[in-house]
Amino acid sequence: MIKILLADDHAVLREGLKVAIEMEPELEVIGEAENGLEALEMCCAASIDLVIMDIKMPVMDGIQASKKIKEKMPGIKILLLTMYDNKEFIIDALSAGIDGYILKMSDMQKVYKAIYSIISGDHYFDVEVSKLISEDFLKKSSAQNFRGIGTVYNLTERELEVLKLLGRGYTSSEIAKELQISYYTVRNHRSNLLTKLNMKNSAELIMFALREGIIN
C-alpha cells in the first residue's frame, strides 16, 4: 500500500483528489494538510511514502515545504500538483529536490502514472513541463557543449543520452524503449550518472543538465 499525504489549501480539491486517488486499490490517502508547514509536521509524525503538494499555499508554500521535507526525510517522495507551468516555478521546484511535477487539470491516469513512476524511483513531469525544460535545453544546446560536458565529467556517450532523455521527462522504461536497451541497463546508466556527478536523485541530474545545457 502506498501511503499518501495531500497538501493543498483548497478543501474541495483535496476531497476530489482523495476520492480519485482511492479508486486505485494500491493507493491510500492517510492525511490532509492545508499548508506547507502542516504537511511538514505530518511528514515528521507519520510514515508517509509520497506527498502530493500544491505550490501556492498560505503559511509555507509548496516549494519551501518540499525543500524542508527533503532535507529532513529524503526518503519521502514529493509530487507537485499545481496550476503553474512557468519555468521559474519548475526550476525552483527541481532545486528543492521534488520527484515530479504535474498540472492540476491533468487526467487522473496521468496522476496514477506519476505516483507509480515516482515510487519506483523515477521522476515524472507533465508533457507541458517537459516541453518547457527541453526548450530551455535547446536554447543552450550545442553538439560541442554536449561532448565537452562528457569529457569534463567523464561521462560516456550513452550516459549523456540517458541524461538528455531524463531531462526531457522520460521515465526509465521510456528511455529503454527510445534507446532500444533494457530497463536495467538504463537504471545502471542512471546510477553511474549519480555516482560520477556525485548527486542524490534524478531532480539533481535534471538541474545539472539544465545548468550545463545538455542536448544535441
Binding site: 493543498d8 489549501d9 483548497h10 474541495v12 480539491l13 476531497e15 476530489g16 483528489l17 476520492v19 480519485a20 479508486m23 501556492k56 496550476m83 503553474y84 512557468n86 519555468k87 521559474e88 516555478f89 492540476k104 487539470m105 487526467d107 487522473m108
Partner: protein, 244 residues
C-alpha cells in the same frame, strides 16, 4: 527727453520683471499640477492593478479548484461505471479547456510570478505565450537582472507587454527584438521590428488607446518615449525610465 527715456526704460523693466515673475509662477504651478496629476493617475493605476490582482487570486482560489475537483469527480464516475460515454469524454475535454482558459486569464489579469521572480521572469512568460499565439519571432535580450522598485514592476510589465503587443497587432512584422538594459538605475527599453509597410501605420496609431496607455504609464514613472518608422528598416520604440 532723457527723463522720458529713463521712465520708459524703468516701466519696461518693471513690466519685464512682472511678466518673468508671473511666467515663473505659471511654470511652477503647471509643474505642480502635472505632478499632482501624475500622483492621482498613479493612485488610479495602483488601485486598478490591485483589483486585477484580487480578481486573479479569486479566480485561482475559487473557480480553479472547483473546476479541477469537478474534473476529478467526473473521471471517478467514468472509472467506476466503466462506460466510455462520448458525452462524458466531451465534458471532460471542455472542463480541461476551461481550465486552460482560466489559467491564461489569471496570468493576463496579473502575472503570477512577478512578486516572487520579478519583471524579467514575467516578461519571459508573456513573450513565450505571445510567440505561441502569434507565431512571431520575438527575441528578448535582457543584459542583466533589472533592479527596480518592486511597486513599479507591474507598471513596467504593462508598458513593455503593451509595446510588444502593439508590434504584433499594428504592423506586418515577422521579427521583433526587445532589448532591456539598465545603467545607473535608468532602464532603457528598445523595441524594434522588421515591418516593411511603407506608410507608417505604426506611428500613425500614436493616438490609439494602446499607445496612450504606454505614454501615460511611462509619464507616471517619470520616463519618456520615442517612436520612429523607417521605410526599409521597420519601426522602433524607445522608452527611457530613470530610477525605476
Amino acid at each position: 527727453m532723457v527723463e522720458i527715456s529713463i521712465w520708459l526704460f524703468a516701466a519696461a523693466f518693471v513690466i519685464a520683471i512682472t511678466i518673468g515673475f508671473f511666467s515663473a509662477r505659471l511654470y511652477f504651478k503647471k509643474r505642480d499640477i502635472q505632478n499632482e496629476n501624475r500622483q492621482e493617475y498613479r493612485v488610479l493605476i495602483d488601485s486598478f492593478e490591485d483589483s486585477q490582482k484580487y480578481l486573479s487570486e479569486k479566480l485561482h482560489d475559487t473557480v480553479g479548484p472547483l473546476l479541477a475537483a469537478a474534473k476529478m469527480k467526473l473521471e471517478v464516475v467514468q472509472l467506476k461505471t466503466k462506460i466510455n460515454e462520448p458525452n462524458v469524454k466531451d465534458a471532460l475535454q471542455k472542463i480541461q479547456e476551461a481550465g486552460t482558459q482560466l489559467r491564461d486569464l489569471i496570468q493576463e489579469l496579473h502575472p503570477v510570478e512577478i512578486e516572487t521572480y520579478g519583471l524579467k521572469a514575467s516578461l519571459n512568460v508573456f513573450i513565450g505565450k505571445l510567440r505561441e499565439s502569434t507565431g512571431l519571432n520575438i527575441n528578448f535580450h535582457c543584459s542583466q537582472q533589472i533592479k527596480t522598485d518592486k511597486s513599479n514592476d507591474i507598471l513596467l510589465f504593462r508598458i513593455i507587454s503593451q509595446a510588444v503587443k502593439n508590434s504584433a497587432s499594428k504592423t506586418d512584422c515577422r521579427n521583433v527584438d526587445l532589448v532591456i538594459h539598465q545603467v545607473n538605475g535608468t532602464i532603457n527599453i528598445l523595441l524594434t521590428d522588421d515591418s516593411r509597410e511603407s506608410a507608417g501605420r505604426y506611428t500613425d496609431s500614436y493616438k490609439d488607446k494602446e499607445f496612450i496607455k504606454i505614454r501615460k504609464l511611462t509619464d507616471t514613472l517619470g520616463g519618456r518615449f520615442r517612436m520612429k518608422h523607417t521605410a526599409d528598416s521597420g519601426n522602433s520604440l524607445q522608452i527611457i525610465i530613470p530610477g525605476a
